[in-house]
């Protein structure tokens, strides 16, 4: 951090929409259990992200035997260590399916290749997709460009081995939530600029796109909601250090900074109306559309960050999850 204080950077707190009545009690429970992200709480946050809450049943990645679970060590970026890919494929082989290259969330600083991958299991279990989830190096130990370059290296390996993995190379999606959504957008930009591989869709679930804190929504949650502006500042600073907010940030790290968004794959974007990422997502959707990209955009009124994963039972969550699932299903079948 520089000598500027958090308040200098973030300014005064802006107005926010109310949280959905059914979501509000969940939010209280989660904020009571989770500390805002800081150097002191990072270790605990990482433990939660990888091991889950104590007492929570672990997810059965084999979906009761319908999914083959493999791990592969594949080459990382040039001069960097190998990376681990988690590969989930249907046990029942019915020829090539769509592929989903998954990038986990966790604020750039936590989570592993298993985080959040359960949401994609149904597609594998019913034989409509192969999922590859990448274990990228985390900030602050490994700042930009390590995370996004690891993701890109994993994507390249996946595309080159599509036939072996049972993936139809014409149906290769990239997907991620939160920081994983930001990294997915950055990896898609890399794939476009390096002319390999060709992605058919990017599914960006409440993605983390902008390090600059200039939008209204980036300032509106202070000590409330999930992933407030302080946690967000911590995540971006961990990734970019002193470069955060300055002129030397690459669009692959913060895709909101990309000047040219043409030639990107068909895009799905969603956000809650009461989360810090809201405006950067709305702006990204508009700019992608202006650049001639086909975009599906969904803003869920009263939703906090990642609400449908954390409060799956709520009506708003059911609507959001079903809408996204339907899009992915169409993308895999196209």
């Amino acid at each position: 951090m520089t000598d500027r204080t958090t308040a200098d950077i973030l300014g005064s707190t802006t107005a926010r929409p109310p949280f959905d009545p059914e979501l509000a009690p969940v939010l209280e429970a989660i904020t009571a259990a989770m500390q805002p992200l800081s150097d002191e709480t990072l270790a605990a946050t990482r433990r939660y992200a990888t091991e889950g809450i104590p007492g929570m049943a672990p997810v059965d990645l084999t979906a009761a035997g319908r999914v083959r679970v493999e791990e592969r060590q594949v080459p990382g970026p040039e001069g960097a260590p190998d990376i681990t890919l988690l590969i989930l494929s249907p046990v029942e082989d019915r020829g090539p399916t769509g592929g989903v290259f998954h990038i986990h969330g966790g604020g750039m600083v936590s989570g592993d290749r298993r985080t959040g991958v359960a949401a994609l299991l149904p597609f594998v279990a019913d034989g409509s997709a192969v999922v590859v989830s990448v274990e990228y190096r985390l900030a602050p130990e490994h700042p930009d460009p390590a995370p996004v370059e690891d993701c890109y290296a994993g994507l390249v390996w996946t595309a080159k081995h599509a036939a072996e993995l049972g993936i139809n190379p014409e149906r290769l999606l990239i997907a991620g939530g939160s920081a994983g959504g930001g990294l997915a957008a950055g990896t898609a930009l890399l794939a476009r600029d390096r002319a390999f591989p060709r992605l058919s869709h990017q599914v960006l679930v409440c993605p983390m796109l902008d390090d600059r804190f200039e939008t209204h929504s980036s300032r509106m949650l202070d000590g409330e909601g999930i992933w407030d502006r302080n946690s967000n500042l911590y995540g971006w600073t961990a990734l970019l250090g002193d470069r955060r907010g300055g002129p030397d940030v690459s669009p692959y790290a913060a895709p909101a900074r990309a000047e040219d968004l043409s030639g990107l794959p068909r895009t799905y974007l969603d956000t809650g109306s009461a989360e810090v990422f809201r405006d950067e997502i709305l702006i990204y959707a508009r700019r992608l559309s202006e650049a001639g990209v086909s975009v599906d955009l969904h803003m869920w009124g009263g939703g906090f960050h990642a609400f449908d994963g954390m409060a799956a039972h709520a009506a708003l969550s059911r609507a959001s999850a079903a809408t996204r699932e339907e899009f992915i299903r169409r993308a895999l079948e196209d």
Partner: protein, 341 residues
């Protein structure tokens, strides 16, 4: 930060879990969330399906712990709690296996939240009393109290009709039908298409409602040749058919299928058969149908050529009677046409 906390299920620290449950329902109440949201939260907190039955409003809601809506199901002996001040209203947990330590607390806070969010406006109307009186799941005391509100003592006739707006002080919608409770022996209007059944004692009301529904299946339209008013207690052996055979099964019968085919070009087919079956002579049947005797003869010979049997012959008569009965069952759940239903 996806899925950092995927579930609210409480299995670790009991005291912290209890607080979380209490805070959760308090939060829903403060936010004026919907009753459905309370049921979903109940399921999510318990980690198993949960349901609400509200006899006064005639609604049932079931959700699994992920918030998926579940179809209404036969009530079983699940652990449940009564909504205070709302006779016949329950919240239950569909816990298979051993109960968890927080189950009782979850139920208690859930019914309190339902109570606060619905208030007591719904439970003192005549409509609510009719629903409670006919609900199979309420206690005898609640049923008798509901009948008291309706000033009903002694035998009660349940009248079920598809007419939407049935006049009467003791009528309400239950499912697809309007249900009215009438004191004593049946004396409903003749110009009504309805099924009826008598409950001699309060405890028989839910069964009487089912029987009146069965009787309704066998009715003809108000201006048709057959009876538009059918009393279950007059059906005898015919009730067995209407109770055991579903509309789908009836529609799949060859004779019913043939009647449907014939009706496409001869809309008078069912009325004609019904008149002949109900009247002592063909002459009387023709008068009832307002047609000439020779026209009736023409119709009957055409029908026997199409159906493969003759309604005027002994064996054919029985076959036609059953076929028309099954045809009514097959079409008993069709969309009602016009106000008459």
């Amino acid at each position: 930060m996806h899925e950092l906390i995927g579930r609210l299920e409480v299995t670790d620290d009991a005291a912290a879990g209890a607080l979380r449950v209490i805070d959760h329902f308090d939060g829903l109440t403060e936010e004026r969330a919907s009753v459905a949201a309370v049921v979903r939260a109940t399921a999510a907190l318990a980690g198993c399906p949960a349901g609400l039955h509200d006899a006064g409003r005639g609604i049932t809601r079931r959700y699994d712990s992920r918030g998926h809506s579940l179809p209404e199901a036969e009530s079983r002996s699940w652990a449940r709690a009564a909504v205070p001040g709302s006779p016949g209203s329950w919240v239950w947990l569909e816990r298979t296996g051993e109960a968890r330590p927080l189950d009782a607390l979850i139920l208690e806070r859930s019914v309190r939240a339902v109570r606060t969010l619905t208030g007591d406006f719904a439970y003192h109307s005549a409509a609510a009393a009719v629903r409670i009186a006919c609900d199979p799941d309420v206690s005898d005391a609640d049923r008798v109290e509901a009948l008291g509100i309706l000033h009903l003592t002694g035998p009660v006739t349940v009248v079920v009709t598809t007419v939407f707006d049935l006049a009467g002080p003791r009528a309400t919608r239950i499912g697809a039908h309007t249900v009215a409770l009438v004191p004593g022996a049946p004396d409903p209007h003749r110009d009504l298409r309805a099924g009826t059944a008598v409950a001699q004692v309060p405890a028989h009301l839910p069964a009487a409602l089912e029987r009146a529904r069965v009787a309704l299946r066998l009715t003809d339209r108000v201006d048709g040749p057959g009876p538009s008013l059918v009393a279950y207690d007059d059906l005898g052996a015919l009730a067995v058919l209407a109770e055991r055979i579903t509309p789908r099964e009836a529609a799949a019968t060859d004779d019913v299928h043939r009647l449907d085919q014939v009706l496409l070009t001869r809309p008078w087919a069912i009325d004609t058969l019904q008149a002949v079956l109900d009247q002592a002579s063909l002459r009387q049947a023709a008068i009832g149908l307002h047609i000439h005797h020779s026209t009736l003869q023409d119709r009957l010979s055409w029908l026997s050529s199409q159906l493969g049997y003759a309604v005027t012959k002994p064996g054919g008569r029985q076959r036609a009677a059953v076929a028309v009965l099954l045809w009514r069952i097959a079409h008993s759940e069709d969309e009602p046409v016009g106000s008459e239903g």
